[in-house]
Assembly symmetry: C2
């Protein structure tokens, strides 16, 4: 693998070149764009684009595409909603869905959409509050100031305020979002075309996917009024055209120290991949139990396979010796600069502190993810039980002292998850819980006191069966009663899931507290020191690592060179028919086969751009300089996976659905005239 | 982890200390044993022990324990035989088996037992034949001289001659074995006690397993006459007693270069672990299809979980920074010594050649294991098809030009596997083949020409179903007919498995040839150069890496220190009852529960020793200085897994069944009086 090691430049904090960068809206390098592409986005242009972009709180991006709250995102971002709206008799994932009238638009049980309204710098306030503190004191102070700032800002239920960390603590900003929780499904194509090519084609190109869903935001039971939106481009994306992608890259690790990269390479990535591989084998075979089992486990399998492939790409990047050596050289260079400057020299100690904390993390990681993050208790019912238990303990506390997920601003999302009417499948619950309890026993050992406390003299299978069959928490009303009843009701509950949650909560909280106070706080505080030193040298001429906050990237429509092979940037609708074999995952939906003759086979279907994106950007609009919608991000190519650690300009490509294809198939295959009219502003 | 880094000493080729070492019988350090333990094995003692030890050709060890061909080995070494002798109605794995009369002893479909008769040094002959050659010429010459030496030696069907590589080419020896293919099952306990504690307790201690099976060797349909055997010790293993373990450690990597260790750490181990993790998830869930499916997939699941845990331990060892740094320092020291000696200095180039070849291997590895080693085609039927096809092509060639598995000396084992009457389970065949074809497509990509050649327009599932359902190769007679019919019959066959084997054989052979000529030959030749240089410095005062050849290790009964906890070296039969929960894998068999009162609970059950063993030693006898049987190796503790790369004297322990426990339960639980009488020489 021969990488253009732009990461070296990032890590030494020199300005990025090529089209690299996930820029915040308040520090967008408009001049750099003008220099390369001859177009300078104005601040009005930026404001409009920002307000036309949305975030799906569960982990995706999207955009307004009409003035009436119509949102375009990916099918895979709405997959769980589509699955939850399905029943054993009406499989919307398989059949697709569209509302021919507004009345048919169907509410998603657990989707939240956010629109970023304002950005306020609160760096000084956060640093004042934590100044001179360390460990638990730092951690408590940080949580407290964050909760205070968020609560003071969130003056209404429909405002969401998040204190976000940028540059690993170089900046703290208060992001204020408008929060929408009434989100309805308008259109979703068949899974077979949304994810044509399945896992084999995932992160690959050429590609032929209609990975889209249309949602609509409602307020007061009416379509929301959304004056900022992206109008449909008459022509769609053209070769070499300047493109912008606005969205919420989930997270990158481009500024990490070598100690942190070692941890990712040697601990986090291999352990996570091994877990996902085993889950994949399990769920893949579980699907063969029957069609119903396949239906209700499909979204999970998709998630597992998608994560596996993405993390595998990241892992391969870190195993690349050249890449890793360049990262090490960059850190050595940064250290040398600090060494030379007497004022900055003390900052060097931060590297050691971070290294120690990663060793501590490696030591405690399995317990943390198994016990507190519930990987040892993979069960929706157990998730409810823990939420109810903790809510009963946390909600009576002052806002700033609560666990993060019970802070006032996080409550709406927590409640939405807890009271989602989505069905629970006991058979799958038992199977998953059995597998995860087995893993718990394997990783901690059968004689570990915690494992003994959980299993007693039961086996993972017998315990899982007893817990799931005995629990009433699948019923929303039962959850509501425990929520309303508070601590007394929870303590008195004879629900076995609640009792398990009670029995292990002390252990779970202890490992979380150790992590937050002794590891996370140390890493955050020392990363802040490094970030500050970098800032003194470069300011905002570099972009911060992604943190699921809104970013804008620029680039152009382009293919790439794969060895001696040129990969062209466009595929066509006709290409999908050529790839069709009739067998999953290369089987086009019947409706496509029937309407093949009506389509223009030359219509561009998917395309690639040089925009710098990562996971979380799924559903992001691709727009031209007129802020017209020309495409819909749904993937990156295989070289984009290393984007976690650095941008490889020569080969890292974003993959999008072309707007022309969307219009063509909505009209000619789905006859979705109501939708097309709305998109075209008629 | 704090390791006693004796590996450093090994790698720099200084004599080993503590009880480290897997010694060949012709270079056993008797004087060193005498110095530490006051007992010096004579050459007669060594001859008797050697001849009393056997190898199970499929990958285990064992020993003669009576003059009538009675062999003691592990249950897990005989597991496949026991499974193959079972039927859906008579599950011998679950129920156990014992022949109350000799007539009831049941022939294993595919077990071969070898007894090492002579060792001849052929180093000069091999080196003469390959002198001055490289790449394919070297590879061909090596194969040719090896086949010639083996054929000249194997003058009868019941002689097996293997040219074995020691010290990575520092020595070549011709090992002559007596070969026994009529192996019958005499006794096997219930799986529930053979593998009590299951995967959770595997590689752990304290331990409570009766992991044993008795087999008997037949010649001319009569029990074989075996004058060399280990008599039963009256007292069994005692605390701190000197113990010897004679057996066939499968392989170690203690002499590898850093480039090769990098390859293991970054390529081989993570990729193999990911594969095993996914298979484990798959087979674990497959078992939930029903009891019959559980029965016929149990041995495979055991193998997967056992490999997974073993490789995971090896992987963790290589990820240990201190350990790895010590290895690197040792190599640097060795290089420095070579550098200083003008005659040895040119050998340094061997390090670079090996490093290049590991990069080449990393590049081609997936294709090699998927296509040639059949990981992409996990199907017994496909295995038969390929063997039949290749036999038809290879057997007409001169012996020295054939693929290794068709050389005259390998033929008996190849034929035994091919014509085994063990049943084939179509449902499992289809499931496994589907999963492995999916993996083939995933790893090579759906557009890879080889993948397209295999799948065409079919899916892994449809192809697997068609191949398995259409094949007649489950019938031994069909296999015999193709074997007898040779190339013409194979070419004319309309069996879809045979046709697939034909269609891809060119690809499979090409990747094998590339590996053998351009990678393996380079590694072997350059390892020889390094080994020669080491030899010039140290001779046989060091032991060679394990290669599934007979070795003798010495040590003593001892526990170890785990942090601040002292692990005692013995468990008792009573301890097994304390650990019993009634639920798999902690459920004692009904027979044990019924006979609990008859047992002396203080009888030692399992114990640990400091003997240096690894996988392949399973089934090895533990003997005292009188060459009496005092135990049966069946495992190592968790610290033994790093033994692949170095011996950690402080904590690496072998785990064995105590001979007293064997006698106690044979008498009091199983009432196996015939067997007890034979063991006691009555």
């Amino acid at each position: 693998m021969h990488r253009i090691l732009t990461v070296l430049l990032v890590a030494t904090a020199a300005p990025a070149f090529a089209d690299e960068g996930m820029w915040t809206y308040d520090a967008f390098p408009a001049a750099a764009v003008e220099k390369t592409y001859g177009f300078k986005p104005s601040s009005a242009w930026l404001d409009n684009v920002r307000l036309s972009t949305v975030r799906l709180a569960q982990g995706c991006s999207g955009s307004f595409v009409s003035k009436n709250g119509l949102v375009l995102t990916n099918h895979h971002c709405a997959h769980r909603c589509i699955e939850q709206l399905s029943t054993p008799k009406k499989d919307l994932v398989k059949a697709g869905f569209w509302a021919t009238t507004q009345a048919q638009e169907a509410r998603c049980p657990a989707l939240e959409v956010n629109q970023l309204v304002t950005i306020t710098d609160v760096t000084a306030k956060v640093k004042d509050a934590t100044d001179g503190k360390a460990g638990q004191a730092y951690s408590d102070a940080f949580k407290s100031i964050t909760a205070d700032l968020e609560k003071a800002c969130a003056t209404a239920e429909n405002l969401r305020c998040d204190v976000v960390t940028l540059y690993h603590g170089g900046q703290y900003k208060l992001y204020t979002y408008k929060r929408y929780q009434d989100v309805r499904l308008v259109f979703a194509p068949e899974f077979a075309i949304a994810f044509f090519g399945g896992d084999p084609d995932n992160f690959m190109f050429p590609r032929f996917d209609l990975d889209l869903a249309f949602l609509r935001i409602y307020e007061n039971d009416q379509p929301a009024n959304t004056p900022n939106f992206f109008p449909w481009s008459p022509d769609g994306a053209k070769a070499s055209e300047l493109t912008f992608v606005s969205g919420h890259p989930g997270g990158t690790s481009r500024e990490l120290t070598m100690a942190e990269l070692n941890y990712q390479r040697d601990v986090m990535l291999p352990r996570t991949l091994l877990r996902l591989a085993e889950l994949r084998g399990f769920v893949g075979e579980y699907q063969r139990r029957g069609n119903e089992q396949k239906r209700h486990s499909n979204a999970l399998l998709f998630g597992i396979e998608n994560s596996y492939k993405a993390l595998k790409g990241m892992y391969d990047t870190l195993l690349n010796r050249e890449f890793y050596a360049a990262k090490a050289a960059a850190e050595a260079e940064f250290k040398a600069k600090l060494e030379k400057n007497p004022k900055q020299k003390p900052v060097l100690a931060a590297f050691d502190a971070i290294a120690k904390s990663t060793d501590a993390l490696a030591h405690v990681r399995d317990r943390l993810v198994l016990i507190e993050e519930r990987q040892g208790f993979s069960s929706e019912l157990f998730g409810f039980a823990r939420l109810l238990l903790r809510a009963s303990v946390e909600l009576p506390k002052p806002n700033g002292e609560r666990l993060q997920e019970f802070a006032e601003t996080a409550l709406p999302a927590t409640k939405q998850a807890l009271f989602s009417p989505a069905p629970i499948y006991n058979e799958f619950e038992i199977a998953r819980l059995t597998v995860s309890l087995t893993k718990l026993r394997e990783l901690l050992g059968p004689d570990d006191p915690f494992v003994k406390k959980v299993l007693g003299r039961e086996s993972p299978e017998s315990l899982a069966t007893r817990l799931v069959k005995g629990s009433k928490l699948a019923d929303v009303k039962a959850r509501q009663a425990l929520w309303d009843g508070g601590q007394a009701a929870v303590a008195a509950s004879n629900d076995p899931m609640v009792q398990l949650a009670l029995r292990i909560d002390e252990d779970a909280r202890a490992v979380r507290k150790h992590f937050e106070d002794d590891i996370e706080a140390v890493q955050q505080q020392n990363s802040e020191l490094l970030a500050k030193a970098r800032f003194e040298l470069y300011g905002t001429s570099i972009y911060p690592d992604a943190t699921f906050t809104l970013r804008l990237s620029y680039g152009r429509v382009a293919g790439w060179q794969e060895g001696d092979k040129t990969i062209l940037p466009f595929t066509t609708l006709g290409g999908a028919f050529a790839r069709h074999t009739g067998l999953d995952p290369f089987a086009l939906p019947p409706r496509w086969l029937a309407k093949k003759g009506a389509l223009n086979p030359e219509t561009p279907f998917n395309f690639t751009t040089t925009n710098d994106i990562v996971g979380g950007n799924s559903g992001s609009p691709v727009i031209n300089q007129k802020a017209e919608l020309v495409g819909l991000i749904f993937d990156g190519n295989i070289h984009s996976l290393g984007g976690e650690y650095g941008f490889e300009a020569a080969r890292n490509r974003a993959v999008a659905v072309h707007s022309n294809a969307i219009r063509e198939v909505l009209q000619k295959i789905y006859g979705a005239t109501r939708l097309v009219s709305e998109l075209e502003g008629r």
